[in-house]
């Protein structure tokens, strides 16, 4: 077993996307009567603000300080989302709340080209998500975690090397209680190495037995059973926004992180998403939901982002947004990363599915459809819009020379040929050239009989008209293109 620990020391800040914050900024926690600075950015640190400082004192040090309460729920959600994302590297991982993840990577080394390459992939991915992690690798989960927590970003594969590295760490990293820590300090035991030189039975009597058990687990002398992270069947991730957003362009920036998480999750599951839903939360109103449908499963970051962009562009924000949620409930297996069933011609190939998805993201689902000839002798039933059959090859020869002559255009509603509108549209008089062709509607639809003619008007336009029987009413039903 080999463990990669990810420690996120700045998670409390990083759960907020900060594209437009460059001044001093901090997150405060502690009791509401007496808030304390929990974490701060570099600009705030330069102003002398340190974690643990009372908020009032921090404000007096730096009047420009932007401060908001710590969002522990968002931190938990971010950790879970990262666990979903990290599934692409290993199926076995554990959460280390509140700010860490432990990945078992022994089985993944070959796939990712060795330890250094894998570590590099994880680091680059986390940086792309906007995190500043500390990474350490060791043969035990707790050992690697202690290294990462102590900024010892080592890659250790052997237990003796891990032991030597741990011996140098202060005992405080084991998180003994304040009393135990004081007792250890009183004995002059400041490093883990000092603790290890104490006689075992004496130490076990004097100190918290859990402390020694944790140390043995870190050294690999005791098993360290942990509950593996259970992967949910669907993806959902929420991102609170540091300031209310009123422009959809800024929302897209924030959505990028969620899409990257989704893509990592999809990679792990060898799946592609068939639908996305972006939910925009508003302070005073019910949330806005923006669904995006796909024609074929995808886990391409750029493509998914483009769909969200088109969708956001045709949406008018009803109110400022303070958090966004990305969900994907419908997944389908997808082995390759970029898949189209037949390659498009041309240099800027956008597959047919991608094209349809893009058009739909902007024009709405109902704005784009296929066309289908239905086997029905009634003209208005012989055509209908249909779901697009992306990826299917064209069927055989569909021409049927025996069928009677039909117009290329059908009017959605037959037009009465006596009204004023018809006169404006047509250039009368009409000459009947062809017909009649009698078409009876089904008895279940009311027994109408129509006699269809092909007519030309004074300007040579070819029209498809019918006379309804019984009666003498004439209608225009189609145009020959």
């Amino acid at each position: 077993m080999l463990w990669l620990s990810i420690h996120l020391p700045h998670l409390a800040l990083e759960v907020f996307p900060r594209e437009n914050i460059d001044g001093p900024w901090a997150v405060h926690g502690g009791p509401s009567q007496r808030p304390l600075i929990h974490a701060r950015n570099r600009a705030a640190a330069a102003a002398g603000i340190a974690p643990g400082m009372p908020l009032g004192m921090a404000r007096s040090l730096c009047a420009a300080l932007l401060c908001q309460p710590r969002d522990t729920a968002a931190e938990q959600q971010a950790l879970t989302a990262l666990a979903l994302w990290a599934q692409q590297f290993t199926p076995l991982l554990h959460l280390q709340p509140p700010d860490g993840l432990l990945l078992e990577i022994a089985g993944s080394l070959n796939l990712f080209g060795g330890l250094a390459a894998l570590r590099q992939r994880v680091a680059a991915g986390l940086a792309e998500l906007g995190y500043h992690p500390r990474l350490a690798v060791a043969p035990t989960p707790y050992g690697s975690w202690l290294l990462a927590r102590s900024r010892q970003e080592l890659l250790l594969t052997e237990l003796p090397a891990l032991r030597r590295a741990l011996e140098q760490l202060p005992v405080a990293v084991l998180e003994p209680g304040a009393k135990t820590l004081q007792a250890l300090h009183d004995l002059g035991r400041r490093r883990i190495g000092d603790l290890l030189t104490l006689p075992r039975d004496g130490a076990a009597r004097r100190f918290d037995p859990a402390l020694l058990r944790r140390l043995d687990q870190a050294l690999g002398q005791l098993p360290d059973p942990r509950r593996p992270f259970a992967v949910p069947e669907t993806f959902a991730s929420r991102l609170p926004l540091p300031a209310e957003v009123t422009e959809s362009a800024a929302l897209l920036f924030a959505a990028r992180r969620l899409v990257l998480e989704l893509v990592g999750y999809l990679r792990a599951r060898h799946a592609g998403s068939m639908e996305l839903e972006l939910t925009l939360e508003h302070r005073q109103r019910p949330p806005s939901r923006l669904p995006v449908g796909l024609v074929q499963p995808s886990r391409d970051t750029d493509h998914l982002l483009l769909l969200l962009k088109e969708r956001l562009e045709r949406f008018t924000l009803p109110a400022p947004t303070d958090a966004i949620v990305l969900e994907s409930r419908q997944l389908l297996p997808l082995e390759r990363d970029h898949g189209d069933l037949f390659a498009a011609a041309g240099g800027t190939a956008l597959g047919p599915a991608a094209l349809v998805e893009r058009l739909r993201a902007r024009l709405g689902h109902d704005g784009v459809s296929g066309l289908q000839a239905a086997a029905d002798h009634r003209p208005e039933r012989a055509v209908k819009s249909a779901e697009l059959a992306v990826g299917k090859r064209a069927g055989g020869d569909t021409a049927n020379p025996a069928s009677p002559l039909r117009p290329l255009w059908l009017l959605p509603e037959p037009l009465t040929l006596t009204g004023a509108t018809a006169c404006a549209l047509l250039h009368e008089p009409l000459q009947l050239r062809h017909g009649p062709e009698r078409i009876e509607s089904g008895w279940w639809n009311g027994d109408a009989v129509r006699d269809y003619f092909i007519a030309t008007d004074a300007r040579g336009e070819r029209l498809w008209v019918y006379r309804e029987r019984p009666g003498e009413n004439w209608y225009l039903h189609g145009l020959f293109g």
Binding site: F342, A344, A345, G346, G347, T348, A349, L350, G351, P352, A354, L355, V356, R358, L359, R362, L363, G364, D366, G367, V368, S369, G370, L371, Q372, A373, A374, P379, A382, V383, K384, S385, A386, L388, A389, K392, A394, G395, D397, T398, A399, N400, P401, S403, L405, R406, P407, L408, W409, L410, L411, P412, R459, G460, E461, R462, G478, L479, F480, G481
Partner: protein, 204 residues
């Protein structure tokens, strides 16, 4: 710039040559192909100018659409009426190859045309624009080149007064003998005198 480089340029017209360099798609009517310089220009815009929807402008395209629809999509963007699937099927066009796009605004329509042309997955893109600006048309022409697609714009005859980057502009009007065609502009050739496609020839 050397002579060879110069000769490679698409915008250079060499007099006296019926430009075999420009790829075309046969129209399916020899008489028309002769006038068009081989067929409908590929990777380019074609404008069909007519004030009527029912005099055969669309019918002229059907054989080419049937061929183009065999391996790529045919996008119909903002058609004026419902494309009647049985008639298309009778002309050899598989209705299942058609993407029927109904934009809500003219701007959305032009956007969709550009996407469809550029995507490379549409053999032909048919559009009935309202009043596209010259700059938009240039973008569409470029998109058609990139996607190696045929863009057909159906516009009113008064559009002939405005210049257009389209590779081919064809005016259609009905006469007693049939549909008369007037070639206003084509790539690698002069405009020609009006000619008539006879009824039996032009009908869909």
């Amino acid at each position: 710039m050397s002579l060879e480089q110069l000769l490679q340029r698409a915008d250079l017209w060499r007099g006296g040559e019926r430009s075999p360099r420009h790829p075309v798609v046969a129209s399916g009517r020899p008489q028309l192909d002769l006038q068009l310089g081989g067929g409908w220009p590929r990777g380019a815009l074609t404008e069909l100018l007519s004030d009527h929807h029912a005099i055969g402008a669309l019918g002229l395209l059907l054989p080419a659409l049937a061929a183009l629809g065999r391996d790529r999509w045919l996008a119909w963007i903002a058609p004026p009426h419902i494309p009647y699937a049985p008639a298309l099927a009778a002309a050899g066009i598989d209705p299942a190859r058609i993407i029927w796009v109904r934009p809500r605004t003219p701007e959305e329509g032009l956007w969709a045309v550009e996407q469809a042309l550029r995507s490379g997955s549409c053999g032909a893109v048919l559009h009935w624009p309202q009043a596209p600006g010259a700059q938009r048309l240039r973008r569409l022409q470029l998109a058609a080149e990139q996607g190696d697609s045929l863009g057909f714009l159906f516009r009113p005859r008064r559009a002939a007064h405005h210049p257009s980057p389209a590779a081919l502009r064809l005016e259609l009007y009905p006469t007693a003998q049939g549909t008369e065609l007037h070639l206003l502009k084509r790539r690698g050739g002069w405009a020609t005198a009006p000619f008539t496609l006879h009824d039996g020839d032009a009908v869909a």
